[in-house]
C-alpha cells in the first residue's frame, strides 16, 4: 500500500481536489450540527406542548368556586351536629320561593355534600358562634364549579346539561348578588382523596410519596453504595463477580411490575407486612432503585483518577482508608446524582405498587409508614379513571404536583453536586 504514504497521496491528488474535500468535510459537520440542533428543538417543542397541555388543563383546578350563604348557627342543629341541615335551611331562606321537595333537592345540590366541614371547623374554633347568623363561604358542588369555570354549558335548555335550568337560574341570581367567588383551592393541597371532586385533595398522596421515598433512600442508598464500593474496589475479578455484574445490569432492565410481584411474595406473603403501606412500597421501590445506584456508583468510583489511590497507598494508608477518606468523597457527587435519578424513577412508578395494594382509595392522611396510603402517580391514575368531569382538571393538577416534586428532587441533586464537586 505505497499509495497511502503522504508523498504519494499529495502527488496523487491535485490541491483543487483537496480544497473540495475540506469543503465537503465542513459541510458534513454543519449538517451534523444542524441535525443535532434540530433534535434538541424538537424535544423542547414536545416538552413545551406537554407542559402547555398539562398546565392549561390543570391550572383552573387551583381555584375552587365558593358560594356565600348566611348560616344561622341555631343551638338545635349544633347540638345534633346537623350542619347539613343548617346549610339547607340557610339556602331555603335565601330562596323562599322554592318550596317543593324536588326543587329543594336541586337547590341543595348547588353546594357540596362536604360543605358542612367548614361550619364544624368554625364552631370548634369559636363555640360562641352558637345562636348567631354569620355569612359563610361554602364549597360549591363540582357541577357548579365546572359551570362557573366554563367547562360545561350554562346555556339554559341545552341538551345534556349537568345543571337544570332552575339551578342555572339560581346560580345566575347568586352571581349577580356577588355571592359566588372563585378562591384558591386549599382543599386540593391539604386533604386526602375523595369521591367528590371538590373535596378531593393530594395531601394524602404527597405524604405517602414522601414516606415511600424516605424508606427507599434509607434502604437503597447504603446498600447500593456498599455494593458499588465492594465490587469496584475490593472484589477479585473472577467469574463470580462477572456474573454478579451482568445480573445487576440486567436487573436495571427488568420491568418494574416484576419487582411488585417479588414484593408481594416476600414482604406481604412471607414476612406478613401490612398491605398498602408506604413501608412496603418503599422497600419495593428500593429494589427498583438499587441497580441504578450501583451502576452509577461504580461509574463514579471508576472516574476517580488512580493516581489518588496510588498516592494514598504510597503514603501508607490502608485500602479501607483509601476508599473512605479519598475515593468515596471524590465519587460522592456522581453517586448522589445516580441516587436521585433512581429515586426520581421510583417516584413515578405505579405498576409495582398495584401488586402490593397501594392503588387504592384512601381518605385518611397516613400518619406513619405503616398506615395505608397512596402515592402521587397512583392518585393521577385513579383520578384519570373517574367519570366526574371535575376530575379532568384535577388530574392535570396532580400531574403538576408530581412534576414539581420531581423538579425539587432534581434541584437538590444539582445543588448537592455543585457543593461537593471537585475537578482535577
Amino acid at each position: 500500500m505505497t499509495d497511502n504514504s503522504p508523498t504519494a497521496a499529495a502527488a496523487h491528488r491535485p490541491s483543487l481536489d483537496a480544497a473540495a474535500h475540506v469543503r465537503r468535510r465542513y459541510a458534513a459537520e454543519r449538517r451534523f450540527k444542524a441535525i443535532g440542533l434540530g433534535a434538541i428543538f424538537l424535544a423542547l417543542g414536545f416538552l413545551a406542548i406537554l407542559l402547555w397541555t398539562i398546565v392549561s388543563n390543570g391550572l383552573s383546578a387551583f381555584m375552587q368556586t365558593y358560594i356565600r350563604v348566611d348560616v344561622r348557627f341555631d343551638a338545635e342543629s349544633v347540638a345534633g351536629e346537623d350542619y347539613q341541615g343548617a346549610i339547607k335551611s340557610a339556602l331555603y331562606a335565601r330562596f323562599p320561593a322554592v318550596e317543593s321537595r324536588g326543587e329543594r333537592r336541586e337547590l341543595a345540590a348547588l353546594l357540596s355534600s362536604g360543605a358542612d366541614t367548614a361550619l364544624r371547623r368554625m364552631l370548634t374554633a369559636d363555640p360562641s358562634l352558637v345562636g348567631t347568623t354569620k355569612p359563610v363561604w361554602l364549597v360549591a358542588s363540582d357541577d357548579v364549579d365546572m359551570a362557573i369555570k366554563g367547562h360545561i354549558s350554562r346555556q339554559p335548555g341545552a341538551s345534556g346539561n349537568r345543571l337544570t335550568d332552575r339551578q342555572l337560574g339560581w346560580l345566575g341570581e347568586l352571581e349577580a348578588a356577588g355571592t359566588v367567588e372563585k378562591r384558591f383551592n386549599t382543599i386540593l393541597l391539604s386533604s386526602g382523596d375523595s369521591r367528590e371532586p371538590e373535596l378531593a385533595g393530594l395531601w394524602g398522596a404527597v405524604v405517602g410519596s414522601v414516606f415511600s421515598l424516605v424508606i427507599t433512600l434509607i434502604v437503597s442508598f447504603p446498600l447500593g453504595v456498599a455494593t458499588a464500593v465492594y465490587l469496584e474496589e475490593f472484589a477479585p475479578k473472577n467469574r463470580w463477580t462477572a456474573l454478579i455484574e451482568v445480573n445487576i445490569n440486567n436487573l436495571a432492565a427488568v420491568p418494574s411490575v416484576v419487582f411488585g410481584l417479588l414484593g408481594l411474595a416476600i414482604f406481604l406473603n412471607f414476612l406478613g407486612m401490612p398491605r398498602s403501606a408506604p413501608l412496603v412500597g418503599g422497600l419495593v421501590l428500593a429494589l427498583i432503585c438499587l441497580p441504578t445506584i450501583i451502576i452509577a456508583g461504580r461509574a463514579a468510583l471508576k472516574a476517580v483518577p488512580p493516581s489518588i489511590r496510588e498516592a494514598a497507598l504510597g503514603l501508607g494508608a490502608s485500602r479501607l482508608q483509601v476508599v473512605n477518606d479519598h475515593v468515596l468523597p471524590l465519587a460522592m457527587p456522581g453517586i448522589m446524582t445516580g441516587t436521585i435519578l433512581g429515586m426520581a424513577h421510583a417516584l413515578g412508578e405505579t405498576a409495582p405498587l398495584l401488586m402490593i395494594g397501594m392503588v387504592a382509595f384512601i381518605v385518611d392522611i397516613p400518619a406513619s409508614p405503616l398506615d395505608p396510603s397512596a402515592v402521587l402517580p397512583v392518585q393521577v391514575y385513579l383520578w384519570a379513571d373517574s367519570p366526574e368531569r371535575a376530575f379532568v382538571e384535577r388530574t392535570s393538577a396532580a400531574i403538576m404536583a408530581l412534576l414539581l416534586f420531581l423538579g425539587a428532587m432534581n434541584l437538590a441533586a444539582i445543588l448537592l453536586r455543585k457543593k461537593f464537586e471537585r475537578r482535577w
Binding site: A158, T227, M273, P274, A360, F361, P387
Partner: protein
C-alpha cells in the same frame, strides 16, 4: 447479593414492626373497577360518621378481587370484594378450600353498557344482531362462517348511516368487555340459525365464534380508561365507543347514547330493565370477619340504606342504576341478616 441484603433489611424491618399487621381496625375492600366508584362513595360517607376509620378500597378487577378475597380468613385478607358479575362456582370452591365458608352476597344495582357517539354524529338505532355483524371476527353468511366482510354500517342494513364501522372499546382484560360479549354478542349469536346449529353440535366452537371480536380495524381496543374513549369520540364524530353508563351521564353535553334494540340508554330505561345491555353489580362480604374487623355490619347497613342506594340516593348521583323498590328491600333484608350465599 444486593437482593439478599434487601431481604435481610426487610426481615429486620418486620421484626421492628412486628404485630403491626395483626391488629386491623379498618375494613379492606378489593375488586372490580366498575363497582369502585360506588363502594368508595359509601366508604367515604361511612368514614365521615366518625365512628369507624374510612375503609380502604383497592381497584384490582373482579377476578383479581376474588383471588384475594378467597385466599383465606384473617386480618391479612380483605373483608369485602367488588364484582361486576356474580361469583362463579369455581370461585366459591376456592374460597371454601381456603376456609372462607360463609359469603354474604349483596346485589348493589345495575350498570348499563352504552354504545355512544359524539353529538355531532347522526343518531343511531341498532339491534344486537346488527352489532354482532359489525363487530364479530367471523359472521354467518350463506350457511357458514366467513371473515367479517362489512366495512360500513349501511352494508349491514341500508337504514344505518353510510359511515365506516369504527368502534372504540375496552380490551379483553376488562370486565366491561366480558359483559358486552355476554349481553350483546352471545345473545345475538343465537339469533342466527347457523350459529344456533353450531351451539348444538359444538359448544366450544360456538363460544369462540361469538367471543371473537374483529381485529381488522373495525374495533379499536382503546384501553381501560373510559375518559380517553370519551375524548376520542368528541374528536372523531364517525366513531362509536363502548363504556359504562356513568361516563355517558357525566358527558351528556358531548355524547349521545345509541339506541339498542329500540331502547335508548337512559337512567329510567336501565332501571326499568328495558335497556338490554345492563348487568348487575355485586359486593361480597366474609361472614367470618363480622365481629373481628370493626364496622363491617355497619358498612353494609350504610350501603343498603335508602340515602345511599335508593332512587334519589347519593349512589344514583354517581351513576349507579338502583334496583326496583321491592328488590332493594329484599336484598337489604338479606344482607343485613348476613344470610350466607348458597350455590345451586
Amino acid at each position: 447479593m444486593s437482593k439478599k441484603l434487601a431481604v435481610a433489611a426487610a426481615a429486620l424491618a418486620t421484626v421492628a414492626f412486628a404485630g403491626a399487621a395483626q391488629a386491623r381496625d379498618q375494613i379492606r375492600i378489593v375488586g372490580s373497577s366498575t363497582v369502585y366508584p360506588f363502594t368508595t362513595a359509601v366508604a367515604e360517607q361511612f368514614g365521615k360518621t366518625g365512628k369507624f376509620k374510612t375503609p380502604v378500597v383497592e381497584s384490582t378487577g373482579t377476578g383479581g378481587g376474588f383471588k384475594l378475597f378467597c385466599a383465606g380468613i384473617g386480618p391479612d385478607h380483605p373483608d369485602l370484594t367488588n364484582a361486576s358479575r356474580a361469583i362463579k362456582k369455581s370461585e366459591v370452591e376456592t374460597c371454601g378450600k381456603n376456609g372462607v365458608a360463609d359469603i354474604v352476597e349483596m346485589k348493589v344495582g345495575y350498570d348499563g353498557i352504552v354504545l355512544a357517539a359524539s353529538k355531532k354524529a347522526k343518531h343511531m338505532d341498532v339491534t344486537r344482531a346488527q352489532l354482532f355483524l359489525a363487530l364479530a371476527k367471523e359472521v354467518p353468511q350463506g350457511g357458514k362462517l366467513v371473515p367479517n366482510p362489512y366495512t360500513a354500517w349501511n352494508q349491514i342494513d341500508p337504514k344505518l348511516p353510510a359511515q365506516k364501522i369504527e368502534v372504540l372499546g375496552p380490551p379483553p382484560t376488562s370486565g366491561t368487555r366480558d359483559a358486552f360479549i355476554e349481553l350483546v354478542m352471545e345473545v345475538a349469536a343465537e339469533s342466527f340459525p347457523e350459529l344456533k346449529d353450531l351451539k348444538k353440535t359444538d359448544e366450544k366452537a360456538f363460544k369462540k365464534a361469538y367471543a371473537s371480536i374483529r381485529e381488522d380495524g373495525g374495533y379499536v381496543e382503546a384501553g381501560e380508561n373510559d375518559n380517553l374513549i370519551v375524548q376520542k369520540l368528541d374528536a372523531n364524530p364517525n366513531a362509536f365507543g363502548i363504556f359504562g353508563y356513568s361516563f355517558l351521564d357525566q358527558n351528556a353535553d358531548k355524547l349521545q347514547g345509541s339506541m339498542v334494540d329500540g331502547v335508548a340508554p337512559t337512567f329510567d330505561a336501565i332501571a326499568a330493565g328495558k335497556y338490554p345491555v345492563s348487568r348487575p353489580l355485586f359486593v361480597y362480604a366474609k361472614k367470618a370477619h363480622v365481629g373481628q374487623i370493626p364496622g363491617i355490619k355497619e358498612y353494609l347497613a350504610e350501603y343498603t340504606s335508602e340515602k345511599a342506594w335508593g332512587k334519589t340516593g347519593y349512589l344514583a348521583d354517581k351513576g349507579l342504576i338502583p334496583m326496583p323498590d321491592a328488590e332493594r328491600k329484599e336484598w337489604a333484608a338479606r344482607v343485613n341478616g348476613l344470610e350466607a350465599l348458597k350455590m345451586q
